[in-house]
């Protein structure tokens, strides 16, 4: 746990309490059964809005709290622990793009609405099933944006899109020229293919901004992954202490103890790199690209391990849909894939380090 100031500690404790009491995994299970068109529970999102969470990375002048990315990470970690479905990560990344690249008019138009939770925004970058910011065909001609984006998170509900094009980052708002096709994925969250056909667009910045925004979106995802890994591990640890086989608690079997100890070791390293990336963003460090690739690679590998071991160490019950382990496993792979998997970020890290 990073060293927090008082307001960060309060924020974390508030969200943790809300998550455990109002949004446990059973809330996600209900949402899955209800299958709302948005891909999340609108009432829960409204509550997050009342708590001011959509404004964490938005300046106070635009209705936010400007707590920054470490604070956003604390929130996403707590939500991730119980798999809360919310558009907070996507909306915050899009807000950051508007903040960093938007004109004063654009900021004034959109940031307050985002901060209040009234508008859901998202980032639309990849055009295929694998993250590859170098492979973008979407283009803008005379202020009209055309192209198809695959697997856009929160694409079902977003009314503001921050879109990567051959010419940098653009903002598309409203429904004109926008077609959504939902993609039902294993994690039961919102993903959609979004097609832009001469949609009116306003420029936010060039390819440098695209990269900056993707790095921030990636760090946010890492925070959600940290919470998931933490809780998947804790749930498994509790289960081993409850379950009796051959007359012994599973937690007394040394082979399992050492596996858990090794997983705990990886989790501590994961926490360090994820918090390190969030802090690097807040500090505006020049090597934050490396910090983010380090975080995403380690977070992906660790969550992969923990989600696999959660199933294996639970045995048969972990394979059942009535139990929560499958939710962690499915969401884990989606987040591992999002914004580049461990392999992508290892390659990027090597190149950034010149070898």
């Amino acid at each position: 746990m990073a060293v927090l100031n008082d307001e960060q500690t309060m924020l974390r404790d508030m969200v943790r309490e809300w998550s455990d009491e109002q949004s446990p995994v059973s809330a996600f299970r209900k949402m899955r059964a209800a299958a709302p068109a948005e891909g999340y529970d609108p009432a829960a999102w409204a509550t997050l809005g009342e708590m001011g969470l959509p404004g964490i990375v938005i300046p106070e002048e635009h209705g936010g709290t400007a707590f920054g990315y470490l604070s956003l990470g604390l929130v996403l970690e707590q939500l991730g622990r119980n798999l809360a479905a919310s558009p907070l990560a996507s909306t915050s990344a899009a807000a950051t793009a508007i903040l960093l690249g938007g004109s004063e008019a654009l900021r004034a138009q959109w940031l307050p609405q985002i901060a209040s939770g009234a508008v859901v925004a998202t980032l639309a970058v990849d055009e295929g099933p694998v993250h590859d910011p170098a492979k973008i065909a979407t283009s803008v001609v005379d202020g009209k944006l055309s192209g198809t984006k695959a697997f856009v998170a929160e694409g079902d509900s977003a009314s503001v899109f921050v879109v990567a094009t051959t010419d940098g980052l653009y903002l598309v708002a409203g429904d004109a020229g926008v077609t959504r096709a939902p993609r039902h994925m294993a994690d039961s969250r919102s993903h959609a293919q979004v097609t832009f056909d001469a949609a009116p667009a306003e420029k936010l910045g060039d390819a440098t901004l695209t990269a900056q925004v993707i790095d921030r979106a990636t760090a946010a995802v890492c925070a959600e992954m940290l919470g998931m890994a933490e809780q998947a591990f804790a749930t498994t640890n509790d289960y081993l202490k409850t379950r009796v086989q051959f007359g012994q608690q599973l937690s007394t079997f040394q082979a399992l103890q050492h596996r858990m100890a090794k997983m705990f070791t990886e989790l501590e390293l994961m926490r360090s790199v994820v918090e390190g990336a969030l802090e690097a963003i807040d500090a505006g460090r020049s090597d934050l690209d490396q910090a983010v690739s380090l975080a995403k690679a380690v977070a992906s590998d660790t969550l992969h391990l923990v989600s696999r071991e959660m199933i294996q160490l639970h045995g048969g019950i972990g394979m059942t849909d009535d139990y929560d382990a499958g939710f962690y496993l499915k969401r884990a792979r989606v987040l591992e894939t999002m914004w580049g998997n461990a392999a992508f970020h290892r390659e990027r890290f090597a190149r950034l380090n010149g070898y």
Binding site: V130, I311, Q312, G316, D321, A342, F344, E347
Partner: protein
């Protein structure tokens, strides 16, 4: 100069049999079914058979070739190993597959042939051979986990019959099964020695099944409840108290079918990972998979698969020679599970978001199948003796290590 024995040596004297098989397949295997076997179908439950499927099942059932090694006297094929190899080769050549399967064939039939009475064999084996009766396994109980001998389901002696009460879980195909072979307790005073092997009718009064939904979206298993179920004593296989011996023998058949080919090799089916990767990721200027990290993990997996295939071959050769059972057999379950799971994880990684589809538009049928295969595959290191149990077995039985005192 010494040469290694050939597993696939040509078998010239079998030419006549080969001709017979080929002709029979040409006459009986419907061309419409060519290559239409589906590895996941067992998880989805029985579907309505098409007329061609029904005809094919009836033909194979009549011929006994669905269970080619079983005695002809009980409806089996009565073939020897060499003939079975020819049959398999010709089936593969014709794109034909075996429509007779399930637990009756893989596990229960071989065990009943070994331990059953004449009456029991005549009653049950022909129906299995024809694919007319589905069997399920009543072993696992809630809270017992890997401790299979922790049987609580009790069969009370009531003269010419037993009254069975208790609960089983992980009953594979319980909702579709006609009958069940179960471990029940007939004696509470001893753990292993109090277990008996009993055959139950799933349609009998007092039997209730509830399907269990799995993370892969399928429900191939049930919870099964027995409440005052009346079972004739003629349904006891072997002696009272012999159930642990018979039950573990049956598990050997299960393991052989899981590791030797059957389940595991079906899951291996599909294209090489390198090929799949090129389809989804393209190739670099040197013709390589462009993601170097992924590529090196594909190599490791493909090497692991080949090493496993060579080990299966080696164990088969050793079993044929006079060297006795191969120690390599003990690793089959774990390595098979590892390769199955690594393959699935690599596949969905290669496909990216497309490998994580659940249903609906935007995914190919292969992609949606891959998601389910990946999730279901997590079971292979849990069921049929978990990886942890196998490691216990290796360390105790092969390496001679003792329990903590």
């Amino acid at each position: 100069m010494a040469t290694a024995p050939e597993l696939d040596a040509p078998a010239a004297p079998l030419d006549a049999f080969r001709g017979e098989v080929r002709a029979w397949l040409a006459a009986n295997f419907p061309a419409s079914l060519k290559g239409k076997d589906n590895a996941l179908s067992a998880l989805e439950g029985p579907t309505e058979l098409s007329p061609d499927q029904s005809a094919w099942q009836a033909a194979m059932g009549e011929k006994g070739w669905g269970v080619p090694s079983w005695p002809a006297a009980y409806g089996g094929g009565g073939l020897d190993k060499a003939q079975i190899r020819v049959l398999n080769e010709e089936m593969a050549r014709a794109g034909a597959w075996n429509p007779i399967g399930g637990m009756g064939v893989m596990m229960f039939g071989p065990t009943l042939l070994e331990y059953g009475s004449e009456a029991q064999k005549h009653e049950h084996i022909p129906a299995i051979a024809k694919g007319q009766v589905r069997w399920c396994q009543g072993y696992s109980e809630p809270n017992a986990g890997s401790d299979l001998a922790n049987v609580q389901t009790f069969a009370q002696d009531a003269g010419d019959h037993y009254i069975v009460n208790g609960q089983k879980t992980w009953t594979s195909g319980g909702q579709w099964a006609d009958k069940c072979f179960a471990l029940v307790r007939t004696d509470k005073s001893q753990k292993h020695g109090g277990i008996s092997f009993l055959l139950l009718d799933m349609t009998a009064p007092g039997v209730e099944v509830r399907p269990i939904a799995m993370i892969s979206g399928q429900s191939p298993f049930c919870e099964t409840f027995f409440t005052d179920v009346k079972v004739p004593k003629g349904n006891l296989v072997g002696r009272e108290g012999q159930g642990w011996e018979i039950g573990t023998r049956l598990l050997q058949h299960e393991r052989n079918s899981l590791s030797g080919g059957g389940g595991a090799s079906r899951l291996f089916a599909g294209k090489p990972m390198g090929k799949l990767a090129k389809e989804y990721r393209g190739e670099d200027e040197q013709g390589r998979v462009p993601d170097t990290d992924l590529r090196m993990r594909i190599v490791r997996h493909e090497m692991d698969s080949r090493a496993f295939a060579l080990t299966l071959r080696r164990a088969a050769l050793e079993a044929k020679s006079n060297q006795g059972p191969s120690a390599a057999t003990s690793i089959m379950k774990n390595v098979g599970a590892r390769i199955t799971q690594d393959r699935a994880e690599l596949s969905i990684e290669i496909m990216g978001m497309a490998g994580l589809g659940w249903e609906g538009e935007g995914f190919s049928e292969d992609e949606l199948t891959q998601t389910r295969t990946w999730l279901w595959g997590k079971a292979v290191s849990i069921y049929g003796g978990s990886t942890e149990i196998q490691n216990n077995v290796i360390s105790k039985r092969i390496l001679g290590m003792l329990d903590h005192q």
